[in-house]
């Protein structure tokens, strides 16, 4: 029990900390901070969880992690943290941590502990066998937006350059691929033009398909503060079929039938054109128009295209839940404000027409000129902490190489091969299999060996029952790296214990193009090792078994380096200096030495250390603010859209249509099902489900039912409800409240219990462009099964 005096010091330190954040003076004296910190060393890094990129310090006392505090100078969170971030320190010494390699020859056998030597040899042998039999097509890597950039980069280097396989994918395919597609096709380059700095200058927030208050709470705080400080001059428009915590600060909340938001966005564009709210000068200087697969179009064609998307028609299409005048108001606020920031996430991305939805958001900004100036941006919020930095930028998807290089472009492959010192022609010319195709290939036994890193597709894939069949196949060798057992490690042959955050060194790149460093602060438990060490050792063995010196070449720069710092630093140096230099995602100035000096990190492009130390590029494409815009300037205009995907160097306004989701309600399955996260739990709950305080608050998934639907179906709060789709069934306790729109139910997706794993019901239709699945919408039956039942939370 803490001594009374020490306890008082800590209480006062906590009060002073919070007070300092809001500029409040407390008569407590700073001595308390010093005494509270007695014996504690604080280690700076990034939060492990969402895509905001909060900077934290982990408190360690006597080698034990025991506290967290925010970094007040960080331009992402200004020191604030959230409930999830506050508790992940407990994962570090949790008794369930994987601490030894585990192996079984058959998936029906029990796991036995093996040494690292044996484990890496097995991994190399099985991958070599698969490769000899089927080449690069027979092997695969499926990674994660939670893996460090160094991990993703090195894995894909060995896969592409070593095993000659572009079957490199990651779970951001399930969440951000449509955002990538949207940015590429609207702006010519991936990732936002602006970032968080726009929030404090915005006069209108357009929050669509995002429950920011619960999914990105620290960012929500900044929006909330901006609104509260300017209640009359700052407007917040929330567009979501579900009323959520985010709606509390909204001046206008528009609910709609799921999937009809495309018509709502087009209707806003209709109003913007009809009422001449567009920025003609901006359009003339910077925009062109596209239709179909990229054919040129004109403003007049856009106008004609949007003619049928009147506010009246959109209100009707959306289900009559708002008035046509609301769309006019929203459009006028959007266009007329001094600066509008849009924010969106899975509500728009996880859709069969996710790319189109993203295009339509960007359309509104391009039409109104709500871009480029401070306080204006179209800001896609990233879900995971390193989907941007590691996977989108580091070459972690089947169709792109590091540095935003499309695989299909031969000069791009040549550049990467030269940087790696491997023969020209080594990297296959065709993209590999995207995620859904990859797991279909497993189902068919076409992939014989797969490495799954830091993610649990057995639970996180849509229509997951189908893809579990492939994972169960005995002729598919599965290696999993993770920190805890998961539903996916249950399918593996080989499970390798990985170091957790702060137990290893590496970089995360967050939503706003900012890469930030976390240094090792504590040792890993047991025999857990960093992934970068595993990859190097595995590749060394692969090189011998396949008698292929090119595989050895892939890891040659990293041989013999100490794994806690020197090894990841060398990998980062190679990636940032050789693969990003000269690209739009240039991070060559952001060396470890630079990143270590910073409270937060560096926004690319940042081609020099001097520039990187200032924080990098706050606004892309603006001469004088973006070094590439200055360098690649072609004329006197202030904005230079040098994105490689648009050779004409313009922003593209796309003529897009309302299109239905793949599966909508009908007489047999009359409800929409949508899914999402709640603040307490993260993804598949393998981490947050092990933190008892988080588990207790929301021990299992609920189904949210609108009160009018509940009344019709005789469902009371706590009743057990059967939710059934064409693919599976769940039995869930009901929450009855004015959350989901009438005709829709909403289920949290974090539960591992087979009765409550909602991805058994979701549909695996995907966007034809981005290949991102439509998690957000499918059709279900809903009926009351019984009164309340006692339930046990379940975790592997």
């Amino acid at each position: 029990m803490m001594a009374q005096t020490r306890r008082e010091f800590i209480r006062k330190a906590a009060a002073l900390s919070a007070a300092s954040y809001v500029g409040m003076n407390l008569p407590l004296g700073p001595i308390n901070l010093v005494l509270a910190d007695d014996g504690v060393t604080w280690h700076r890094g990034s939060c492990r969880l969402c895509g905001v990129g909060c900077r934290v310090e982990l408190g360690v006392k006597d080698g034990v992690p025991m506290g967290l505090r925010g970094v007040t100078e960080s331009r992402t969170n200004f020191g604030y943290l959230c409930m999830k971030g506050m508790h992940f320190w407990k994962c570090m010494r949790h008794p369930d941590r994987l601490v030894k390699p585990l192996y079984r020859a058959r998936k029906t056998d029990k796991f036995k502990e093996v040494s690292w030597d044996e484990a890496l040899d097995i991994a190399a042998t099985r991958f070599a066998e698969a490769h000899k039999a089927g080449g690069g097509a027979a092997v695969a890597y499926y990674g994660s937006g939670q893996a460090l950039t160094e991990e993703t980069y090195l894995f894909q280097k060995v896969m592409r350059g070593g095993l000659q396989s572009n079957n490199v994918e990651g779970n951001p395919r399930l969440c951000m691929a449509s955002a990538v597609g949207g940015y590429m096709s609207s702006f010519g380059a991936d990732e936002p033009i602006g970032g968080y700095a726009d929030l404090e200058k915005a006069h209108c927030f357009f929050i669509v398909g995002s429950n920011t208050a619960e999914a990105h709470p620290v960012l929500f705080r900044r929006i909330m503060r901006r609104k509260l400080d300017n209640p009359d001059t700052v407007k917040v428009i929330n567009v979501d079929p579900r009323v959520s915590q985010t709606s509390r600060i909204a001046d206008m909340h528009l609910q709609f039938k799921p999937g009809t938001d495309l018509s709502l966005l087009n209707a806003m564009a209709h109003v913007i054109i009809a009422e001449k709210l567009y920025d003609a000068e901006f359009l003339k200087n910077y925009a062109t128009f596209r239709k179909g697969k990229g054919e040129a179009a004109t403003f007049v064609e856009l106008q004609a295209h949007l003619a049928k998307y009147t506010p009246e028609e959109a209100a009707r299409t959306c289900g009559g839940t708002f008035k046509p005048e609301d769309i006019r108001t929203a459009a006028r606020w959007f266009a007329g404000s001094k600066g509008t920031v849009s924010l969106w996430t899975m509500g728009l991305n996880q859709r069969k027409q996710g790319v189109w939805a993203n295009n339509m958001m960007h359309n509104l900004h391009i039409l109104t000129g709500q871009l480029m100036k401070d306080g204006a941006d179209s800001l896609s919020l990233t879900g995971q902490p390193n989907a941007c930095g590691g996977v989108r930028e580091g070459g972690g998807l089947c169709h792109i190489l590091p540095g935003h290089r499309p695989i299909e472009a031969e000069p791009m492959r040549r550049q990467v091969e030269a940087a790696w010192g491997i023969p020209a022609g080594r990297i296959p010319a065709e993209p590999g299999l995207h995620t859904m195709a990859m797991f279909s290939a497993l189902n068919e036994g076409k992939i014989k060996a797969i490495w799954i890193n830091c993610t649990s597709p057995a639970q996180s894939l849509p229509n997951c029952t189908l893809y579990n069949k492939g994972l169960d196949r005995e002729d598919v060798f599965i290696v999993c790296t993770d920190i805890f057992p998961t539903l996916t490690t249950e399918k593996a042959n080989l499970v390798l214990p990985a170091s957790f955050h702060f137990e290893k060194t590496g970089v995360y790149g967050c939503t706003e193009r900012r890469s930030q460093l976390t240094k090792k602060a504590i040792d890993s438990p047991g025999e857990a090792r960093p992934e970068v060490w595993m990859i190097r050792e595995w590749a060394a063995r692969l090189a011998k078994k396949l008698n292929d010196p090119v595989i050895a070449q892939c890891i040659k720069p990293f041989v013999g380096l100490e794994e806690g710092y020197a090894l990841p630093q060398a990998i980062w140096d190679e990636y940032s200096r050789k693969l990003t230099a000269g690209r739009d995602s240039d991070l060559s100035g952001a060396t470890y030495a630079v990143l270590e000096q910073m409270a937060d990190g560096v926004q690319w492009p940042a081609p020099t250390a001097e520039y990187a130390l200032t924080g990098g590029t706050v606004k892309k494409f603006v001469k004088g603010r973006d070094p590439l815009a200055t360098k690649l300037s072609k004329n006197d205009l202030p904005y230079q859209f040098y994105g490689a995907a648009h050779e004409d160097r313009t922003l593209w306004v796309w003529l897009r249509d309302q299109a239905n989701p793949e599966e909508i309600p009908d007489a047999e399955y009359p409800f929409y099902l949508s899914t999402g996260r709640i603040i307490d739990h993260w993804h598949t709950m393998s981490m947050t489900g092990r933190v008892p305080e988080l588990l207790r608050a929301n021990p299992y998934a609920f189904v949210e039912v609108n009160p009018r639907d509940a009344a019709r179906l005789g469902i009371k709060p706590g009743d057990m409800v059967e939710v059934r789709s064409r693919r599976g069934v769940n039995l869930l306790p009901a929450k009855v409240y004015e959350g989901p729109v009438e005709g829709m139910v909403f289920v949290y997706w974090h539960d591992q219990h087979p009765d409550r794993m909602i991805n058994k019901l979701t549909k695996d239709a995907f966007d034809p462009g981005s290949k991102e699945p439509e998690f957000k919408i499918c059709a279900v039956q809903v009926k009351r099964a019984s009164g309340p039942q006692p339930l046990q939370p379940f975790i592997v």
């Binding site: 029990m1 506290g67 020191g79």
Partner: protein, 101 residues
């Protein structure tokens, strides 16, 4: 005894309601508030489990817009974990068949 420092924010017009609600919670000590609707408080609970429940309860108050955490110290609990005391598992982690993992 986990101890955290928090900034609880509401609309300025709702702050009085929030302060009333917080006053009724024994584990909360309010240290100050301002005209912008910010309330600075320290939360101290018997366990991390209770800390999380408390934060959740405050967050769900209809007048509270946001609970921002700035500092957390759980050294008591961390020391107990380091000594090998088992983590609280109020529900148990069981497979559907009832077997222990």
């Amino acid at each position: 005894m986990p101890i955290s420092g928090v900034v609880i924010t509401s609309r300025p017009t709702d702050k009085a309601e929030v302060l009333r609600a917080l006053a009724a919670i024994a584990e909360v000590e309010v240290f100050g508030d301002d005209a912008q609707g910010n309330v600075v408080a320290v939360l101290e609970t018997v366990s991390s489990e209770e800390m999380e429940k408390l934060i959740d309860r405050i967050s769900k108050n209809p007048f509270v817009l946001h609970v921002g955490l700035t500092y957390l110290n759980t050294e008591d609990e961390a020391e107990r974990m380091a000594r090998g005391e088992p983590l609280a598992r109020p529900f148990g982690f069981r497979r559907p068949t009832g077997e222990e993992p």
